[in-house]
Subunit: 122 residues, 2 copies
Amino acid sequence: MVMTKNLEISILFDFYGDLLTDKQKEVIELYYNEDLSLGEIAENANITRQGVRDAIKRGEVFLLETEEKLGFSKHFNELSQKLSKIKEEVENISSINSKTIYNSEIDLRVKEILKLLLEIDE
Amino acid sequence: MVMTKNLEISILFDFYGDLLTDKQKEVIELYYNEDLSLGEIAENANITRQGVRDAIKRGEVFLLETEEKLGFSKHFNELSQKLSKIKEEVENISSINSKTIYNSEIDLRVKEILKLLLEIDE
């Protein structure tokens, strides 16, 4: 059996990893984020390869089910796209303002919005 | 013992309610959202008052611990405040634009941003 490391699990781990058991959290972190092999994780954690495989599998199922129930990953993804579009439009306003009659008040507002968008992104 | 119904639980229920057991979900929904008394819930669910009280307590603890681990409620609250400020600033731009030289391109961008903010709010 070849387990494919998928990006989705890595993303869901960022969202819901703190709900996993310590063991699941550890092996998923090593497998997905540190890119260790099952064998290497087994050696480090002093459990069998099959034990590692099972813990990863259970963790993956939990993460996928949790996203199914809560949907925060999907939600943040959609939010992030909308915020990018808002940023684009704000930059358009800034550009129009510079090219036509330059209004310093509009410029101030634009800078404030870009600052807020940056804070959200952090 | 008087249980105080607090708003926080009601908010956390919206975020994480789908992670509760069916029973916890049911009693917390009836207690917090439908505002039924412990006695009324006990009668409906055909369990003791103490059983209801315990299920609510366990559910509350779970919701508070989940927020402690994931923090999405706090995160969304901060996000929401920043989005409100962005909306204010965009409305300021619109108002400055109307009062000074009216630029229809800026007006279009403003409308697009307000539409996106409204979509996020939904």
